[in-house]
């Protein structure tokens, strides 16, 4: 625990409480306080933290890190604490009963031969190539959430855009989960297995550039695989970054229509600092109206790593949708499959407010861009 405190500079904490003040979870959950967790860690209350069910309530959205005057790396601190708790036998209260975590653990079986490329039949893809498209868990999300959202459309649209720009991306038949969710819920052992399997496959594909449509994959590949991919010089980028650079170089154009607003996913925004690329793309598709909470101040979609989903998460989602609707836009764009699922899930179920207040179209950036391609 001392090591974690040292690595994340938690000992700089001056107990000012700005983290708790800015925390979207602490606003609704009186038992959760980021400041108290740091304080308890500093006084060496290891068992107390491990057994605390609120340890898993943190969304690791880094809203607090942006405010912290002592620059404590809070999300990494929580990650370290969770690993410590996991190693002592405590686990998170997973949504979907841990179904997604089971899928991810099954992915760590070395000889697994998946059947996940059904969606790519009508598109141009290859086994090896300069550009690799890292699909992430989209085929599984399609299995699970097809009742109210179609996540696989994101993959289809991404490849469609790449094809349109003359790129035939490689896709991996046996791609594993990037391990993000397991890493953030403390299971770093399985994460290491997944990371090794994925990096081997990425290296074999001969790609010099990896494109993802999921900010979580992006963060994991970029930062958490860093030591495994470092020597290869492979460039990892989000689809919005690629589209934005294609717009500048190749003259890829979009048909303009409608008013849109943009929800920053935490992994893309606060974790990686990518704010402008998705906005450039949206501005070329239509008019962009910002919500009050945007960029580094962006609210959260309410669930992280499939670890917690409770009434408060729903409240956060509904609040975000009300905010989006009040901008007068007709579409809410996000660039994270999970944000999309969570926000759509909120309206799919019963909500505590009138339907008209949250009645806004929610779309993924890649899907919207795929539809708006000019000359298609």
């Amino acid at each position: 625990m001392k090591q974690i405190i040292r690595n994340t500079k938690a000992y700089y904490c001056v107990e000012c409480g700005k983290c708790t003040g800015s925390c979207p979870v602490a606003r609704g959950n009186e038992f959760f306080s980021p400041r108290l967790i740091v304080e308890r860690a500093l006084s060496g209350m290891k068992q107390d933290i491990e057994g605390d069910r609120e340890l898993w309530a943190c969304l690791t959205c880094e809203a607090c890190s942006k405010k912290c005057p002592s620059t404590v790396k809070y999300s990494e601190f929580i990650r370290g604490m969770r690993k410590m708790a996991f190693d002592s036998g405590f686990t998170s209260r997973c949504s979907q009963g841990g179904l997604l975590h089971s899928i991810q653990r099954i992915h760590s079986i070395k000889d697994l031969v998946q059947d996940r490329l059904d969606w790519a039949k009508d598109l141009k893809t290859s086994k090896k190539g300069e550009v690799l498209y890292f699909t992430g868990c989209l085929p599984y999300f399609e299995n699970l959430f097809s009742a109210f959202v179609s996540p696989i459309e994101i993959a289809k649209s991404t490849v469609k855009i790449l094809n349109f720009a003359g790129i035939v991306p490689a896709i991996l038949q046996n791609e594993r989960c990037c391990g993000h969710d397991l890493l953030w819920t403390g299971d770093s052992e399985t994460f290491q297995k997944l990371a090794r399997l994925n990096t081997e496959m990425i290296k074999e594909s001969g790609a010099s550039r990896v494109v993802t449509s999921c900010p979580e994959c992006l963060r994991t590949l970029k930062l958490d695989y860093a030591d495994l991919l470092e020597s290869t010089g492979i460039e990892i980028m989000h689809i919005s970054e690629l589209i934005s650079s294609l717009m500048k170089n190749n003259g890829i154009k979009f048909n303009r229509s409608g008013i849109m607003t943009y929800h920053d996913p935490c992994r893309l925004g606060r974790h990686l600092g990518i704010y402008d690329a998705p906005r450039d793309v949206i501005k070329s598709m239509g008019e962009l109206v910002e919500m009050g909470n945007h960029m580094a101040e962006s609210s959260c979609c309410g669930v992280s790593a499939w670890a917690t989903c409770e009434s408060m998460s729903k409240q956060m989602q509904v609040n975000r949708l009300i905010e989006a609707k009040s901008t007068g836009s007709d579409t809410l764009i996000t660039s994270c499959p999970k944000c999309l699922i969570h926000l759509k899930c909120a309206v799919h179920n019963q909500i505590p407010v009138e339907k008209e207040k949250v009645d806004i179209r929610i779309e993924d950036l890649a899907v919207a861009a795929g539809k708006a391609l000019a000359g298609d």
Partner: protein, 137 residues
């Protein structure tokens, strides 16, 4: 090399299938020892995550058994089970695991013979399929 001895988990509902298994026992019907029965109140409470968890932890086959459609003690639990099972088949396909490793059966309290036969057939099928993931981790 020893013969492959599959591990099968069977979730049996309290009102029909578990009693069916009980009847198979009291009637002294023989069926393979590979099956581990877990009693649940209803087949509708067996979440898809239970099945994947079992597979994750090394089960070679998983069965859900409940009352016949229309006979559910809680009116429609088995219909939920059926719907969930369909979703699970999709996940199994994407994962590349053989769909025959999971099974949904309706076994009533009087069908001890059916229970024994189902287990026999299932165990034989899993033996043919071999261990999940070829026995390697």
């Amino acid at each position: 090399m020893t013969e492959f001895d599959p591990r099968i988990i069977a979730f049996c509902c309290n009102w029909c299938s578990y009693v069916g298994a009980d009847l198979a026992g009291t009637s002294r019907l023989q069926y393979p020892h590979n099956v581990r029965i877990i009693r649940t109140m209803c087949s509708g409470q067996v979440f898809p995550s239970y099945i994947l968890k079992a597979l994750e932890l090394g089960a070679d086959g998983v069965m859900i058994a409940g009352c016949h459609i229309g006979d559910c003690h809680y009116v429609s639990g088995n219909k939920k089970a059926e719907e969930r099972f369909r979703m699970l088949l999709g996940i199994m396909k994407t994962l590349g695991l053989d769909a025959r490793r999971i099974r949904l059966e309706w076994i009533s309290a009087s069908e001890g013979v059916k229970f024994a036969n189902t287990i026999k057939e299932f165990a034989r099928e899993i033996k043919e399929l071999g261990p999940r993931n070829g026995g390697k981790e």
